[in-house]
Symmetry: C2
Subunit: 478 residues, 2 copies
Amino acid sequence: MPVSMAVNQNIVELEYAVRGPIPQRAAELARAGRRTIPCNIGNPQALGQSPITFYRQVLSFLEAPTALARERRFRGAFDANSSAFLGVDESDFVDPWVIEYCEKMLGHLGSGIGAYTDSNGPAFIREAVAGFIDRRDGADSGSGVPADPDSIFLTNGASEAVRFIIDLLISDAADGIMIPIPQYPLYSATIKKAGGAQVEYHPDEEKGWTLDRAILDDAICRARDRSITVKAIVIINPANPTGAILPAEGALEVVDFAEENRLAIIADEVYQDNLYGAEFVSFAKLVGKRDIPLFSLHSTSKGFHGECGRRGGYVEIRNPIDIEGADVRLRDLFFKQASVALCSNTTGQALTYIMVTPPPEGSPPHGRYQREKETILSALQDKATMIREAFEEMREVECFGRTGAMYLFPRLGRLPGGKTDFDYCMALLEETGLCTVNGSGFGQRPGTHHLRIAFLPPKEMLDQVLPDWIAFHNAYVQ
Amino acid sequence: MPVSMAVNQNIVELEYAVRGPIPQRAAELARAGRRTIPCNIGNPQALGQSPITFYRQVLSFLEAPTALARERRFRGAFDANSSAFLGVDESDFVDPWVIEYCEKMLGHLGSGIGAYTDSNGPAFIREAVAGFIDRRDGADSGSGVPADPDSIFLTNGASEAVRFIIDLLISDAADGIMIPIPQYPLYSATIKKAGGAQVEYHPDEEKGWTLDRAILDDAICRARDRSITVKAIVIINPANPTGAILPAEGALEVVDFAEENRLAIIADEVYQDNLYGAEFVSFAKLVGKRDIPLFSLHSTSKGFHGECGRRGGYVEIRNPIDIEGADVRLRDLFFKQASVALCSNTTGQALTYIMVTPPPEGSPPHGRYQREKETILSALQDKATMIREAFEEMREVECFGRTGAMYLFPRLGRLPGGKTDFDYCMALLEETGLCTVNGSGFGQRPGTHHLRIAFLPPKEMLDQVLPDWIAFHNAYVQ
């Protein structure tokens, strides 16, 4: 007789649509030999996006440092007698600048990439992250507040940082975190698992998913009516799942709102490179010198980097909250949380370093790095445009907000009697192989229907599948 | 005025001595230029242990697949005209067998190592792990129960697997998990954070940290007297922090005990390669066909692998518990937990594959792999012996149990008036630079004093520091 036990009900109840029934059905179809297109998740390399060459050259040498000396010797032999190297030319060698870059990193790492690091990550990487933040926000030129390497924690992707923050802030079931609706289900799932309360606020879809004070005030009042202690507000900018970019005015209203209500801001900025021409303004810059607790997240998974599987990321903490009733600093509690799992993975850490320390202008690998970056970002923008154009041919489909992140979140209009957006996405998958996620997986206003599509498939694939989708849609809603 | 908030009290209270005040003081000393020897943690590469060459060759090529074709071309050029390759010889080339191995892995990975994988890890890696378990336990030759790849989850080290298991099993504050005392603080910290109860059992130190039914029965009775629902028992074998190896009789008593009390077994077997001549018997093999829920953990961090920072590991689940009051399978709940963080890091996953699929006998890289493995393991054994011999020169120091894992856990005898083992370890650090962890950081019988030392420093370093330790000790206890 099998052993039977009660388990953590919060885990039984938590939902995670991005990896839910629709992607699971897609996996079944793929195993049965059907072509499927995984647009359920922002996973660019699974859809053929190439990694940045420089990143991989460095990671490759960090794995096998003896290959660095070998590279120099091979290059020397080639230079001395290239005629003996059949089928090899100069471009087959890694540039000496890259070799020096690797040697410097290995010097900092000391014992290489295989050892546990400090729980918060190696100091040289946290210093490089701080330098990156300062350059990005202009704090290196005197405006703004410089980042402190000791307030930066390297984590397994931004996801782990979100877990650390929410697990720490939720001290009982009446503690709440404000999240946008729709939201990335990492937030709802982590709040659920921590046993806290989800406090929803609703960006204005028809105004491009923008925010104003009335929206935020309304949400916090409703929470207080339920006797919830609101502790923090999550902002995802550019947004996931909507892809929308928050204009600076809306972002400043969030900062004012947090200050007045004495909330922490959790700024999920993992899409900070996915703006397609718009300007990124970080919450660190917006908060400036005001004493508002801020957790800012970044990751190697998104942007033009696309190194999702590496689980590289960090959180930067500013103006840490004072811990009520305990003589301990927030930083020490973060450190303890990180210590239980010893450290984040070292490849993710190394990649975070490389991401914030790319080859500078004028260095030999810069040209190729810049070209690869621009190619990826402009392809993403083109693909978003292709999909938006397809929406125009779909009956009653509208898509609001300026394109950012890697997602479009169209509103589906009226669906045939009793059908949900889950039904729609499942049928779309069965019919066309296109795997998207139903809007209800992210939360949405009752009575509305949406889906999220990651605009990642190669253009040729979109050329094939978009007409199928248009045909499917117009038949489905009839 | 800084924002002040109550936070999760469980995180405020949790302790993690392995990364606690003593190692933090060691880091301060190191920053000030003092020589310190980090024996507080099983982190071999930080103390100069070299990685296995084969592992790194493969990881290096997975990062930069274009280097595979280049390797073939360089090798071809060398074979055609080796005289032109100054300072390069045949041993500088990676064996074609390794190149094929990498190509096969890349074929399985499909889109390379940068993409998110399935939440539980790629099927080909889980299949390889299942094959490894079957070979290890003789299930491939008909005895025992074969492993099921769908019941294997790849995780960020074994630590993440422990978190998944404990977070799931603790459904309220009266739920308890049995852990040995002394124990690895991952367990106490994770139970604390999940808000459950720690149920302690005490292996018999003077009998080499062995177990019998009376010890286990006593512990569960005391827990039931406190109205605790005991759900699982943790066994670490070989043990951490004691390093002791659990004899098969003791292990079988645990299996009987779990069956009678309808508990799950959490078998932490990350040191399964650190037995130094003793035979490893897995709990999967001991459980056999009996319907006892079992979670078995393994990792790339320990053994002769030592790749701690990669955070590679897995949990295998057998005879899953039935979830009371919910129509859901244990596997699905694990899958959901893993999904929230999307997947474990891909380098750790790849390394797990390489660890369970080493070059077989007769393949070209086998000889070197085997030599490196044996060199590491025999050096570890020699170093443990050196330290044990030093104990004999220290007044009233005794060390019980057959040497396993990477640790010795000597009992310190009487300390001078009012001094604790924490004081002792701190003084030892200040005096000699040797960083160990006080026994109280792992739990111990009241009134006893211990410390844990990882037997990892190079022999020359031990030759230097052991006489200092002996002198320090005999002066300290006087």
